[in-house]
């Protein structure tokens, strides 16, 4: 078990976790139609920063905001590991920006980058939990970030996966996903601390298809089954779904949720506010889940290309 010490979100909805959750409570969305952001790309609906952001300064700002809530001197310690969750990093380079972020804080350890498609943000928290529980470090700074580019938008358009309108997760009318950008940070520790704690995590592959989810929700179901070990569906207060609003993802998640006996648990699907923020999604959506609940038990699940699925269970008494 590891303990959440602090967190931050920087997104088109606002600066800081609190500003973000207030924007959501007020029903504000970052999604807008963009017609001339990237050359050649057809108009698309996404949640983008008004001013294009540089990857490293955005991550640094988010980590500074989260570490700023804690006693000084955690970021630069040998007992702290930086874990970056991203799919495309800084213009396709993932390792250099991670090194720059860790170096900015004077951290002496080589950072870890988790690049496990859309599940990265949850997988990075699972990696943090394991390293802290093994006693290899006492603090982990998990930073999730992706910024949108011509590369990503053109690729998703070529898949015909983008909705021309704000996405509608779990709706029969859903027409696809929207992309988004954000940076978010959670600081975990293996030292007991009041508030939210990360109790369980699991990663499973569908072993079915590299770009389409399993029809039976295999990997997602196995993740939910694992994180439900020791608790019952009645103990879960909120389930944070992936909810990309593609036809197949949401159908798959519905099956996995039902197989795991969680069909009576309230769900939150945040893509209508943020779009799909890729490497940031798991971190952003975990933080929002904690803030929406205030206390209780929360499960966050994600699925992605490569057939990978992940889930974590968090609790606050």
């Amino acid at each position: 078990m590891v303990y959440c010490l602090g967190h931050s979100i920087i997104s088109p909805l606002g600066e800081g976790s609190q500003a973000n959750v207030e924007a959501i409570r007020a029903g504000r969305s970052g999604l807008k139609l963009h017609t001339d952001r990237f050359l050649d790309v057809e108009p698309f609906c996404a949640s983008l920063f008004d001013e294009p952001q540089d990857f490293v300064p955005l991550c640094v700002r988010s980590a500074e905001m989260a570490l700023g809530q804690l006693p000084a001197g955690i970021g630069d310690k040998k007992e702290t590991i930086f874990i970056l969750s991203t799919t495309k990093g800084d213009n396709l380079d993932l390792l250099t920006p991670a090194n720059k972020i860790a170096r900015h804080f004077g951290n002496p350890n080589r950072p870890i980058v988790v690049s496990n498609a859309c599940t990265s943000g949850v997988c990075a928290q699972i990696t943090a939990k394991r390293l802290l529980e093994a006693g290899l470090y006492n603090y982990a700074v998990v930073v999730g970030c992706d910024i949108q580019s011509r590369f990503i938008v053109s690729g998703f358009q070529s898949f015909k996966a983008l909705s021309p309108e704000p996405c509608l997760p779990f709706s029969p009318e859903r027409r696809g996903l929207n992309l988004g950008e954000a940076a978010a940070t959670i600081v975990y520790s293996n030292q007991p601390h009041e508030g939210w704690r990360l109790e369980a995590g699991a990663i499973h592959n569908d072993a079915n298809h590299i770009s389409a989810p399993s029809r039976t929700g295999e990997g997602s179901f196995l993740c939910l089954r694992d994180v439900l070990t020791g608790v019952t569906p009645a103990d879960i207060d909120l389930l944070g779904v992936h909810g990309t609003a593609t036809l197949y993802n949401d159908a798959m998640e519905t099956i996995a949720i039902e197989r795991a006996g969680l069909q009576r648990v309230p769900i939150s699907a945040l893509k209508p506010y943020y779009g799909h923020t890729m490497g940031a999604a798991g971190v952003v959506e975990t933080i929002i889940g904690m803030l929406l609940l205030n206390k209780g038990t929360f499960i966050k699940m994600l699925s992605g290309f490569g057939g990978v699925n992940a889930a974590i269970r968090l609790k606050c008494e």
Binding site: L39, D40, T87, G89, L92, L94, L95, A98, N99, R110, I112, V113, V114, S115, N116, A117, C123, T127, K129, R130, L131, E133, A134, L136, R150, F151, S154, G155, F156, Q157, S158, F159, A200, A202, I203, H204, N205, D206, A207, N208, H209, I210, S211, E218, G219, L222, D226, T229, G304, F305, G306, G307, V308
Partner: protein, 161 residues
């Protein structure tokens, strides 16, 4: 090399991967759809998983999916904009772990890390083993591809008892 013994090959570069595929697998036409990173990981896993089964696949490299990213970029150049979905799907490094999971019916964990060196993967895999839901055997290693004929893989099976 397999278990310390060199394997005789005629070809080099990507052709060598096809040669090894034909010799050690041959029954999986999807191989020819894969990008070089996936072909590399696929062939290495074929060699190692003969008669062995694993519960999880954990891989790392330094340059993510850069070779295929570059190939995809070539389909969206200025004035020649025809984005290829067939290439875009391989612009994530963890796809190779997914391809191996499909081939060998592995429904356990698949993870991909970007690290500076192979040694940095060891504490990650060890702490995964120590986790309560840890699998019994992990296919773990390095799988790096910087170009059609520029790649390196080093995989091993790690058991937790």
């Amino acid at each position: 090399m397999l278990n310390g013994q060199p394997i005789a090959v005629q070809e080099t570069g990507e052709k060598m991967l096809v040669e090894l595929y034909r010799r050690y697998a041959g029954d999986y036409p999807k191989f020819f759809k894969m990008d070089t990173l996936c072909r590399l990981g696929f062939v290495a896993a074929e060699l190692l998983l003969k008669g062995e089964s694993v519960d999880a696949v954990v891989m790392a490299n330094r340059s993510a999916s850069i070779k295929n990213d570059t190939d995809y970029m070539a389909t969206i150049t200025d004035g020649n904009y025809y984005p290829s979905p067939a290439l875009f799907v391989y612009t994530l490094p963890n796809i190779v772990t997914g391809e191996i999971a499909i081939r060998h019916h592995i429904q356990g964990e698949t993870s991909f890390y970007i690290l500076d060196s192979y040694e940095e993967l060891e504490p990650i895999v060890k702490s995964q083993m120590a986790d309560c839901t840890s699998p019994a055997a992990i296919l773990a290693g390095w799988c790096e591809c910087n170009g059609k004929n520029e790649f390196y893989a080093k995989l091993q099976i790690i058991w937790n008892n």
